[in-house]
């Protein structure tokens, strides 16, 4: 089983025996213990597993671990991001299962566009499902993330 070398949240990791076909989500959660990344559908439809690769949101459940070339950022690498506090303040967290993925997506959004409009937020965040329906609060959190 070929090894995987990855930079995750600034630290280099070597997984010596990752089976071919292992998803990035599985590697992060099971090999590196980074359980903040959730998998909810495991087929790229819900966005719960979103991580960044070189700052770009990627669905880690349908990304093969061996194919990742850039630097990976997970929710664990964004814990001090002001968006975390903004989400809590705005009550954009209900059951919270989708929240790490939402914040990872939102962090990529505000990195490229620090003052997104509601329309831009709705466009860029539409790939992250929330069954509890925190969407209005997510919009609020992203609009006020620097407050």
């Amino acid at each position: 089983m070929p090894e995987v070398r990855l930079v995750v949240n600034g630290a280099e990791h070597v997984v010596a025996d990752a089976p071919v076909g292992m998803s990035l989500a599985q590697l992060l959660r099971e090999e590196l213990g980074l359980i903040g990344t959730k998998t909810a559908c495991n087929e790229g439809h819900c966005g719960a597993c979103t991580v960044q690769v070189d700052g770009v949101p990627v669905l880690s459940c349908i990304t093969l671990a061996h194919t990742v070339e850039g630097e990976v950022t997970t929710i664990e690498g964004l814990r001090e991001h002001p968006l975390v506090d903004a989400f809590v303040r705005a009550d954009a967290v209900q059951c919270g299962f989708c929240t790490p993925g939402q914040i990872v997506s939102a962090a990529a959004l505000v990195a490229s566009n620090p003052e997104p409009t509601r329309r831009e937020i709705r466009h860029r965040m539409a790939g992250n499902l929330c069954r509890c329906g925190t969407y209005p609060k997510i919009e609020e959190a992203i609009l006020t993330w620097r407050d």
Partner: protein, 754 residues
């Protein structure tokens, strides 16, 4: 003191007569309105750990040596296992154990729906378990399949005896009505699709089974697992600290828990058994479809004189026959009501409670019918609802009801209809509609809580309940902080473990806050009394003169003013314990929740596209503990409702009963881009008869009236009477065509002006 009472207990609209041990509720309610902590917006206590990805859900329980189980499911809608051979599966690498029909509760040899669980495999990896499933040799004997609910009713295939209800003389009243409006309404099957799928991790330590599970009812799982496996209840420990949504589908252990427990017993290893998203959409339960044949008779002045309904609930292979008829019996004053409800036993996946089961479906039918009556009579829909205001629940007084105030608060939203309609052009028509809501949500005993006050003046609320994402921890902390007179940040809530805290309520039926809140307040009051006893002795003053305010023990005359930690510091390394219980519900009264929603829509009459622009919701659920969390509950309920109103539908292959919508791509739930402006308002008045808190539940009420409000807005915009959920383009274009034909025939002239 404990007291034994015989009482009706209600969960999700189902009543049973039970003996209950209750303790007296001796505390007076706080006055109405925001207090120091209660009634003021609070950010979630557990928000940071959930947002930072630190909260450990069942999905994150990865134990050393843990095996992974996968479940073999029936590919037939109805069939019996004739022969099953595990040998080829057991020969595969990594396979550690197998279970067949009868080896664990839930695994059956007669599969009643496509997706029914029949066998299971545990292996070192989940992939190996799945591979092994495919190697199991199984021979099926096909049995007769009935998928159509009306077909099932005709054949007498029912889950329960037909449910009949009548008050007054329906036939005579209908015959004497000035106007009669009839309609057949259909609602679809809707899937919960909590983002955390149904799952458990089971492990035996000694003779005790440890169950980590994503559940809405720790104690229900404990009792059911103990019964299913023949264990004493104390030999089952159930843990659920964080869970990723349930919406009614996680009230019982499910086959996955039994599979994990039994495979763990047989292999001596911890076993995880979790549903995939596709299994979640196939076999985890659903809101059942309904067919509702409804009729209303009224006088020209709008007084409703007769209401009748025949309801068919397509229950599925298992599940219960929810009260689709409830809104018709309860929402309006009407002396003559007759309902008949059939629960059809069909070879489809099981019904499970889904956020106000029955009332969501029944309110769609009833509130569309009432609006069609208003249109027929040319009476304003709000006025019609006020004219038929119910002042008791079938003769039983309400513990409190402020629906009239909801209507008053709705007026400003309802007034917008003139401006909204005026935006219409040839293609896009704009309109406004409303619908009312009635539901349970009073909770009840038994429920218990403890408070632990440390010598540093910090407080832990301890109770073995679960927080399913509704903000339970926060509300409980607010109540304890309020009662104890300490800042909110000094209170933590410890929950989620049956071995670490007393019995607590199910988190379903909008019962968490009204069941647990009063117990927490009582426990905090018990601790406060002990603190003041200590302070009175320490300062040689009368205990009755002392209070705790903002973390200080103070006397009325100002001679004592000392930090709480100085008093409780006397405990040294020890702590002080308070104990509280939920008192009884008010005898002889109906405890119900109410509300009204006003929806604004735009309809493209050429393509059938519907856009929901704005929903204003006004609910009466007694005292609001956390206005921020309450607003989130309302928004979430309305967004879920927009899903079942416009896009969500579980589709089955009509030949095989196989679920076609197994993914989140084909089963279309709302995204952030589908959300309208939502305005949430509350009457916020304590129910003076209900507990020391006066709060009812809010989880379910907001999802109830939305579909009808949207359908009624579509009628306002276009004249089309939609009768089916979801309101697909096909259904809307059908209704538009029908409205055009009717207009051409001149058949729908208002009669109220005759």
């Amino acid at each position: 003191m404990a007291r034994l009472i015989r009482t009706e207990k209600e969960v999700e609209g189902r009543y049973e007569e039970v003996w209950l041990v209750v303790e007296e509720d001796t505390l007076d309610q706080w006055p109405a309105g925001p207090r120091r902590v209660v009634g003021r917006p609070a950010a979630r206590k557990d928000g940071p750990e959930r947002a930072r990805g630190e909260a450990r859900y069942t999905a994150d329980i990865l134990l050393p040596g843990m095996l992974h189980a996968a479940i073999l499911r029936s590919p037939h809608a109805h069939a019996r296992v004739k022969r099953i051979d595990f040998a080829p599966a057991l020969a595969l690498p990594g396979v550690r154990g197998v279970l067949g029909p009868g080896d664990a509760p839930g695994l059956v040899d007669e599969a009643g729906f496509n997706g029914a669980p029949v066998a299971a495999v545990a292996a070192d990896t989940y992939g190996q378990a799945r591979r092994a499933l495919r190697a199991i040799e199984i021979e099926w004997e096909p049995l007769e399949v009935v998928l159509d609910p009306e077909d099932a009713v005709a054949k007498g295939l029912l889950t329960v005896e037909p449910r009949r209800y009548e008050r007054g003389d329906f036939e005579q009243a209908l015959a004497g009505a000035d106007v009669v409006v009839e309609g057949t309404y259909r609602t679809q099957t809707v899937l919960h699709n909590s983002l955390e799928t149904h799952q458990s991790v089971c492990e035996w330590i000694g003779d005790t089974l440890h169950v980590h599970t994503s559940t809405q009812y720790i104690w229900g799982v404990r009792a059911a697992v103990a019964e299913g496996l023949g264990l004493p209840q104390d030999k089952v420990r159930v843990v659920c600290e964080y869970m990723g949504g349930g919406f009614g589908s996680k009230n019982d252990p499910g086959e996955y828990t039994f599979v994990a427990a039994e495979l763990a017993r047989r292999t001596g290893r911890p076993v995880r058994c979790g549903l995939t998203r596709r299994e979640e959409n196939t076999a985890a339960g659903n809101r059942n479809g309904t067919i509702q044949r409804l009729v209303v008779g009224a006088r020209f002045d709008g007084t409703i004189v007769a209401l009748g309904g025949e309801f068919v609930n397509a229950v599925g292979w298992s599940g219960w026959c929810s009260s689709t008829e409830g809104p018709m019996q309860m929402l309006y004053a009407c002396d003559n009501v007759r309902t008949l409800t059939h629960g059809a036993k069909v070879n489809t996946p099981p019904m499970k409670a889904f956020r106000a089961p029955g009332f969501v479906e029944g309110t769609f039918g009833l509130e569309c019918l009432i609006d069609e009556l208003a249109a027929t009579l040319a009476v304003d829909p709000l006025e019609l609802r006020r004219r038929n205001y119910a002042s008791s629940n079938d003769g039983k007084p309400y513990s409190s009801k402020s629906l009239d105030e909801c209507y008053a608060l709705a007026e400003k939203h309802w007034e917008r209809r003139h401006e909204v309609r005026s935006r219409s052009d040839e293609t896009w028509r704009y309109g406004v509609g409303m619908a009312s809501q009635i539901w349970y949500g009073g909770g009840g005993p038994p429920s218990y809580a403890w408070t632990r006050v440390g010598s540093d003046g910090r407080v832990s609320v301890i109770t073995a309940m679960q927080d399913i994402g509704t903000g339970t921890r926060t509300a409980m902390a607010q109540i304890a902080a309020e009662e104890l007179g300490v800042p909110l940040d000094r209170v933590d809530v410890v929950l989620g473990d049956s071995a670490r805290g007393p019995y607590a309520s199910i988190s379903a039926g909008s019962s968490t806050l009204p069941s647990m809140g009063p117990a927490v307040r009582a426990a905090a009051a018990d601790a406060k009394r002990q603190i003041l006893e200590l302070a009175a002795q320490r300062h040689s003053v009368d205990q009755g003169d002392l209070d705790i305010v903002d973390g200080s023990v103070v006397s009325a005359d100002g001679t004592v003013s000392t930090a709480l930690e100085e008093v409780v510091g006397l405990l040294g390394p020890a702590q002080l314990l308070g104990k509280g219980a939920r008192g009884p519900n008010p005898a002889g009264m109906s405890v119900l929740t109410f509300g009204v929603q006003v929806a604004e829509v735009a309809v493209d009459v050429e393509t059938g596209e519907v856009r929901v622009l704005r929903v204003a919701a006004i609910h009466d659920v007694g005292r609001i503990v956390n206005p921020l969390g309450a607003e989130s509950q309302v928004e979430g309920g309305i967004i879920q409702a927009i899903g079942h109103t416009l896009s969500e539908e579980r589709l089955l292959d009509p030949e095989t009963g196989r679920t076609l919508t197994t993914t989140l791509e084909s089963y279309r739930m709302p995204t952030i881009a589908d959300v309208p402006e939502i305005v949430a308002e509350f009457v916020d008045r304590p129910d003076e008869h209900l507990t020391n808190l006066g709060s009812k539940g809010l989880g379910e009420p907001p999802i109830i009236p939305t579909a009808a409000a949207i359908a009624n807005a579509i009628r306002d915009a276009t004249g089309a009477d939609v009768h089916e959920l979801p309101i697909s383009r096909e259904e809307l274009l059908r209704a538009l065509e029908e409205a055009r034909r009717r207009a051409a025939d001149g058949a729908k002239e208002p009669v109220g002006t005759r």
